[in-house]
């Protein structure tokens, strides 16, 4: 296969830098704590990274196409509550309940997309509204109590391990591969970059800009629903309080991975590294015994630094055509 990959101007510099940073951070945690470098802890990091990653890959496309979805955390919580509620309160079978929740996820993403493309409501606003509404509704309908489910097969499979690695990690890796493939080798991927690079040009050339945006938003909402269901398998209940701050982790991972908030620039490999980076930091700070509240402060600082580095790089990359 003599197929050449498309070259980028500063091809891997961001990813290499991030990889080096990831290794340094891991070594630091490894040498300063007793339990960081253990198989058990690595599985734990992989598990939490997988939930974030599943949403971060579609979110990368959303940001590249110049949109955003900040409703991820409540979306995950609501999907879990909805899923468990359908099973417990209405006696619906697991596969059927999953299908309904996933369809609902697709519908929500479509709603955000239509609001954006037909009614020109910024995705930030629509998803901010959803962020509040979905969390509030989940809390209200459950009284803040977990909705318990019992099926062991479901829990042990989707909440458990396969070949020594969490099942969610396998799902995440497959998802990564699919999104990586789409971004590099398909017309849809090219169109997403085109829409982010120059929406006006994309439209005038004949790309359906609206559809491209809707597809990326639907994908993100769909994967938030998947993560909601996978969380249920892990904790054996639908929980209105899960996924708190998850939108932060997801967007932070994507941006740390080199995707520009302003669109056009971003790669799936960067997002994968960003997800691992965020998860390692979160986990390592716990091992350092840092107060969970302060943990959030430290993560905030790290995100800020990453964005500063990122925007400097993308400023240099986007400083316009060279003149001779």
């Amino acid at each position: 296969m003599a197929n050449k990959k498309p070259k980028t101007s500063i091809s891997n510099i961001h990813e290499i830098g991030l990889l080096v940073a990831l290794i340094i951070v891991m070594l630091t945690f490894g040498f300063t704590t007793d339990n960081f470098f253990t198989e058990r802890n690595f599985m734990s990091i992989l598990r939490s990274a997988s939930y974030v990653g599943l949403v971060a890959f579609p979110m990368t496309f959303v940001l590249i196409s110049r949109e955003i979805d900040i409703s991820v955390g409540p979306s995950v919580a609501w999907s879990g509550v909805f899923f468990a509620g359908l099973i417990k309160w209405y006696g619906i079978s697991y596969p059927m309940a999953a299908a309904i929740v996933l369809l609902w996820g697709i519908f929500l993403g479509y709603f955000v997309g239509i609001a954006r493309t037909k009614f020109f409501i910024p995705t930030f606003i629509t998803t901010l509204a959803l962020w509040s509404a979905l969390r509030g509704f989940s809390l209200w309908i459950t009284d803040g109590m977990p909705v318990l489910i019992s099926d062991k097969t479901f829990r042990y499979f989707f909440g458990g391990d396969l070949a020594g690695v969490p099942v969610v990690t396998w799902i995440m890796l497959i998802t990564f591969f699919v999104f990586w493939f789409i971004s590099r080798y398909t017309v849809l991927g090219t169109n997403i970059y085109a829409v982010g690079g120059n929406p006006k040009a994309a439209r005038s050339i004949g790309i359906n800009v609206d559809n491209v945006k809707i597809i990326t938003l639907v994908a993100t909402s769909f994967f938030a629903a998947i993560v909601g269901i996978l969380f249920v398998a892990r904790v054996a209940s639908g929980n209105s309080t899960v996924g708190e701050g998850m939108e932060f982790d997801v967007i932070a991972a994507v941006v740390v991975g080199g995707t520009a908030l302003g669109g056009a620039v971003g790669r799936m490999t960067g997002t994968l590294l960003g997800v691992l980076f965020i998860s390692v930091i979160g986990n390592g700070l716990i091992h350092w015994g840092i107060d969970p509240d302060l943990n959030k402060v430290v993560r905030g600082v790290i995100i800020f630094i990453a964005v500063v580095i990122n925007s400097n790089l993308s400023f240099k990359r986007n400083s316009g055509p060279k003149e001779d």
Binding site: P6, S9, T186, N198, S204, V265, N318, G320
Partner: protein, 246 residues
């Protein structure tokens, strides 16, 4: 034998008469410079040819056949391509990706169509070679000079084997050195038998490549003559109205 013939084209927007009874024709391999002040109707005329607007009255013949374009795609399908002033390029994509946007070459892996980069890059190389441009297919457009960007935009028209290319201010926003590069691109199109219509404010550029000059003033065609029988001074006078007609 003309490839494109405009017969008595008029266009009004409400009470405003943007074009008034304009007749023009273009032969294969001919470069026509369309000049006029702001608001003279140049852009309106080009947009009618490209299918963006419908004329109020008059008729367009393409290859001796009456045509009606209700959308830009209709004109593109017939072989009329327009290159806009802002070029409509995506800076974050490579030259070859830009050329092939919406017309990508694909191959199949099982049931999945995937992009065939090699074929697209090879084709883009050929196109740039035909245009005698040194633009690299695999380079991102944002790294390119104004001249190279123009080559990418014109390369797109080559892909569709356009017979008529409309250029909107091709030399407006670029440095003097690159103007020569763009004028060479236009000469290459001409050499390949493509009819070119350029809109430009830059008198020397128009005279450097055009076979014929047409001047619009307040929607009326006030001149349509061979470039070597006219002069920049005369055209300036026609644009401003110092000379009524030529």
């Amino acid at each position: 034998m003309s490839i494109l013939k405009l017969n008595n084209i008029s266009k009004s927007f409400g009470a405003i008469q943007a074009l008034d009874d304009v007749s023009l024709s273009l032969k294969p391999g001919e470069v026509l410079g369309l000049m006029g002040d702001n608001g003279a109707g140049k852009s309106t005329l080009v947009k009618i040819i490209a299918g963006n607007f419908k004329q109020t009255s008059g008729q367009i013949n393409f290859e001796d056949e009456k045509v009606e374009f209700s959308k830009p795609m209709d004109a593109r399908v017939r072989g009329i391509e327009i290159v806009y002033q802002d070029l409509a390029l995506c800076d974050n994509l490579t030259a070859s990706s830009n050329i092939f946007l919406t017309r990508e070459i694909k191959r199949k892996i099982g049931p999945f169509p995937i992009l065939n980069f090699k074929a697209m890059i090879d084709r883009a190389k050929d196109i740039f070679k035909e245009l005698k441009s040194e633009t690299l297919p695999e380079e991102e457009v944002k790294m390119m000079s104004g001249g190279q960007r123009q080559a990418v935009a014109i390369g797109r028209t080559k892909l569709s084997k356009a017979k008529v290319v409309l250029l909107d201010e091709p030399t407006a926003a670029i440095s003097v050195r690159q103007v020569a590069e763009v004028l060479d691109l236009i000469k290459q199109l001409k050499a390949q038998g493509i009819a070119v219509l350029i809109i430009s404010h830059r008198m020397p550029d128009v005279f450097a490549v055009s076979d014929r000059i047409a001047v619009l003033r307040r929607g009326k065609l006030v001149a349509n003559k061979n470039a070597n029988e006219s002069s920049p001074e005369e055209v300036t006078a026609l644009i401003t109205g110092a000379i009524e007609k030529a």
